[in-house]
Structure formats: structure tokens, C-alpha cells
């Protein structure tokens, strides 16, 4: 065997080893039991989803890696990632998956699990508060603009009471109440 004085660096593509003791093998089943997780196991990491994603270039975890991380049980990393919240929900990944994995829908499931643990970005918490308090995301402020166009100052039929009542009793209420 030829000897070399230079120490060989590990290849740059090598990822950080996964700490097996921190894996949560039930995470895969948890996602699978959710509304859109049926085909999760069919992922063969071809990374077509990542190729389709318009913002994957600036993510540490690419879409195909997030799916792989779910399969491996990296629950903590996935649910604490910024990536799940930056997902555009544009469904390009899901549309192109050759295995019918509902990638975008699964990221929605992940956000719901994160939300259940109270991990919601402040800006989204702010939107949840708006929904509970005002019953809508956008409130009419310039009714003169509407009147100029012969529209009613308020939207006819719009009623927010029941909407607010429903969300107060579901997780939105918990997220906002836990402020």
C-alpha cells in the first residue's frame, strides 16, 4: 500500500452521522396516520421534489431530506426546522412526485404536530390571534373605496361570530390563549 503524508479529509458530501439514540421510530407511523401520510413509505429519495421546489436552494434540509428524516424518525429536527414554516404550499413537489407522496400535505401535517407542541413562529401566532379576535385575516378599512364602486361598505352576509367560536374551541384557541 502506498503511503501518503497528507491526511485525507472526509469527502465533502459526507453528512453528520445520525445519533441513533435520538431517533423516534414512531414518528413515521405518526405521520402515516395523519390525513395525507398514506404513501409516505413509497419515497425512494429520488429528489424530484427538491428539483421542483423554487426555494430548496436556500434550505438546509431539502424536501426529499425532510421526507427521509421523517422515515428515519428525526422528529425533533423536522418539527423544529424553519423549513416546514417556509414551505410556500405551492404543491410543485407533490405534483411531480413519481411515487404519489403528498409532500406538501405532509409538511402541513408536520406543522400541525409542531403547533400541538407550541412550536409556532411568532408571525403565524399573530395571524392566529387576528383570526380569533377579528374572525378574518383582512378587515375592510377603506369603505369609501367600496362605495365609489357601488359596493356595500361591508361585505353582505359576512358574519364572523361562529367562525371565532369554532376556532376558540380548537387548537387555534390554545395557541392564542397560551400567549
Amino acid at each position: 500500500m502506498a503511503e501518503t503524508k497528507d491526511k485525507i479529509d472526509p469527502p465533502v458530501t459526507l453528512v453528520e452521522p445520525i445519533d441513533m439514540s435520538r431517533l423516534d421510530s414512531s414518528f413515521r407511523k405518526e405521520i402515516q396516520s395523519m390525513p395525507d401520510g398514506n404513501e409516505l413509505n413509497a419515497c425512494f429519495a429520488c429528489s424530484t421534489c427538491t428539483a421542483a421546489c423554487p426555494i430548496a436552494n436556500q434550505w438546509t434540509y431539502k424536501p426529499h431530506q425532510l421526507i427521509r428524516m421523517i422515515l428515519l424518525g428525526m422528529r425533533e429536527e423536522v418539527l423544529s426546522s424553519k423549513e416546514i414554516w417556509e414551505c410556500l404550499t405551492c404543491f410543485q413537489c407533490q405534483e411531480r412526485c413519481p411515487q404519489n407522496v403528498r409532500v406538501t400535505d405532509i409538511l402541513f401535517d408536520c406543522k400541525n404536530l409542531a403547533a400541538e407542541e407550541g412550536k409556532v413562529p411568532d408571525s403565524i401566532k399573530g395571524l392566529a390571534k387576528e383570526l380569533i379576535e377579528k374572525g378574518q385575516l383582512y378587515v375592510i378599512t377603506a369603505d369609501w373605496e367600496r362605495e365609489d364602486l357601488d359596493l356595500e361598505p361591508e361585505v353582505p352576509g359576512m358574519s364572523t361570530d361562529e367562525f371565532r367560536e369554532i376556532l376558540k374551541a380548537t387548537r387555534t384557541g390554545k395557541i392564542v390563549g397560551g400567549e
Partner: protein
């Protein structure tokens, strides 16, 4: 006369009354009766779906159940509302257990969802129920073939098994006004609206890329059918100027505005001055 439940959502009336007014006027001229839905609230948007899946199901199922009761299809001018209502209906039709849970909640409000109602984007209803030929017949001053890029919007195109929309139908609707549909590489790409609350810089980048792609393909105007997309492509041109120093100066119009003008309605009737990037250059393209 076909009659519809009009689900306006919260964004169009608050941010784009010009879109609302143009939609009502065009529908009336086409013989579509749009009736504002009574007692309905917001759809919650994808943000609600992200944090509270069950709450999102119930609020949208409530809207669907109200529409089902009076027997007409729901039409909406907002891709966000369309996506939420379509997605919830699709899920509940495929998940009997969730349908039961949701109906247990709706019972408190004297409602029940069976799943028979149809959810549609208002421009798709124009395409399907009125038809291109009938629309063309109403065009009294067509556009002169001016190049317009269509931004369809994610939640009307995908997931296709849920939305059931063919993008070519929107192209045909635009062509009916006399315009030329511009093909551009990023036609499928997202406007970036959803990421705006968590990463504004990224949202601006996406709007920038989209507008650049349209402009480079020769578009003189852009067409949208969603208030969130409208916001990102129209108003956000000012954010793009601040961030990138680039001025696209690409006017963005809602489809019913373009059609109303081609039908001979005035710029005031469609609130053209409310479009953020001045859109009046379009007026010089109508052939009297």
C-alpha cells in the same frame, strides 16, 4: 339564469374592491346570478391549515354546508378560499371518520354537510357555464393582441386531483378579449404570498423572479385571478424596487377587469385607478 353562492372571502373586499366590482359587473353582463352567501366567515387560509387542521376543516365545512342547503354551487374570486374549500371538501369526501367528527360540530349550528356541493373559481364558472363563444359575443372593443402573461396561482392549479382546473381554460378566457397570451418559463411558479409572514425577503425574491420571467418573455401586462397573487405581483413591485433597485413597471390586472373593459365598461367601473402599478396603459389597446 345560472345562480351561484358567492363566497367573497376577506381579502378581496378589504384589499381589492376593484376586483370585486369588476367580477359582479361582468357576471351580470354574462347572465350569471351571484348571491353573496349569508352568515359565512373567513376560510382561514393555508396558515390556519398549518396550525389547526381540525379547526380549518370545521370552519370551511360550515361554509360548504350553508351552500349545500340552498343548492347552488359556490363560486369565489380568491384562489386561497378556493383552495381551502376544495381541499376540505376533497378530504371529507374521502375520510368518513373526519366527516362524522366535523358533522358533530356542525350539528351545534343546525348544519350538516353531505358533500354534494361544488366549489368553483368564478372565472372557471364563466368558462364552463357561459362558454368562450358567448363571452366573445359580448366583447365590443377587443384588445389589439397586446401581450399579457397569465399568473394562474398555485392553489388553483395544484394539487390537480383536488382542484380539477385546466390552466388552458384561463388562456382561452384571456384570448376571448383579443389579447395574446405570453408563454414564459416560470408560468407555474409561486408568487410567494404564503411565505410573506415568515420570510419577507424570500417572498420578494419570488415575486421578482416571476415578474422578471414575464417581462423577459415580452409581457406588457400581467393577469391574475387571486388577491394574494395580485398583492405579490402588483404592490410588491415597490418592495422589489427597494430591495433590488429594479423597476418592472408591469401593470397587473384581474381577469374580470380586462374582460369588463373589453365589454365596453369604463375604467371607473372596474376601479382601474386602484391597481397599484398604473394600469391605464391598457386603455390604449382597446380597438373601438
Amino acid at each position: 339564469m345560472p345562480t351561484y353562492n358567492l363566497y367573497m372571502g376577506c381579502s378581496v373586499p378589504a384589499n381589492y374592491p376593484n376586483y370585486e366590482a369588476a367580477t359582479l359587473k361582468v357576471a351580470e353582463a354574462l347572465g350569471m346570478e351571484l348571491i353573496y352567501m349569508d352568515g359565512v366567515g373567513c376560510c382561514g387560509s393555508p396558515n390556519l391549515r398549518a396550525i389547526d387542521y381540525f379547526g380549518w376543516l370545521v370552519v370551511n365545512a360550515r361554509t360548504l354546508a350553508i351552500a349545500e342547503k340552498n343548492g347552488h354551487d359556490i363560486v369565489t374570486p380568491c384562489n386561497g378560499c378556493f383552495g381551502s374549500l376544495k381541499d376540505v371538501l376533497y378530504h371529507l369526501k374521502h375520510d368518513k371518520e373526519d366527516m362524522k367528527k366535523v358533522n358533530d360540530e356542525l350539528k351545534k349550528y343546525g348544519l350538516e354537510l353531505k358533500g354534494n356541493v361544488r366549489v368553483r373559481h368564478v372565472v372557471e364558472a364563466m368558462y364552463t357555464d357561459i362558454g368562450i363563444e358567448a363571452i366573445k359575443a359580448k366583447v365590443t372593443r377587443p384588445l389589439d393582441g397586446v401581450k399579457i402573461a397569465v399568473h394562474y396561482g398555485c392553489h388553483i392549479l395544484r394539487p390537480k386531483d383536488v382542484t380539477e382546473i385546466n390552466p388552458e381554460n384561463l388562456d382561452d378566457l384571456l384570448r376571448a378579449t383579443g389579447a395574446t397570451v405570453v408563454e414564459y418559463p416560470l408560468w407555474k411558479q409561486c408568487c410567494g404570498a404564503t411565505v410573506l409572514p415568515v420570510n419577507e425577503e424570500l417572498a420578494i425574491r419570488l415575486a421578482h423572479d416571476k415578474l422578471k420571467s414575464m417581462k423577459e418573455a415580452g409581457a406588457e401586462f400581467a393577469m391574475v385571478i387571486c388577491p394574494a397573487c395580485g398583492n405579490q405581483l402588483d404592490l410588491q413591485q415597490f418592495g422589489i424596487k427597494d430591495t433590488y433597485g429594479v423597476e418592472f413597471n408591469l401593470p397587473v390586472l384581474f381577469y374580470p377587469q380586462i374582460l369588463a373593459l373589453a365589454m365596453g365598461m369604463s375604467e371607473d367601473e372596474v376601479g382601474l385607478e386602484m391597481n397599484r402599478v398604473p394600469a391605464d396603459p391598457i386603455l390604449s389597446h382597446f380597438v373601438e
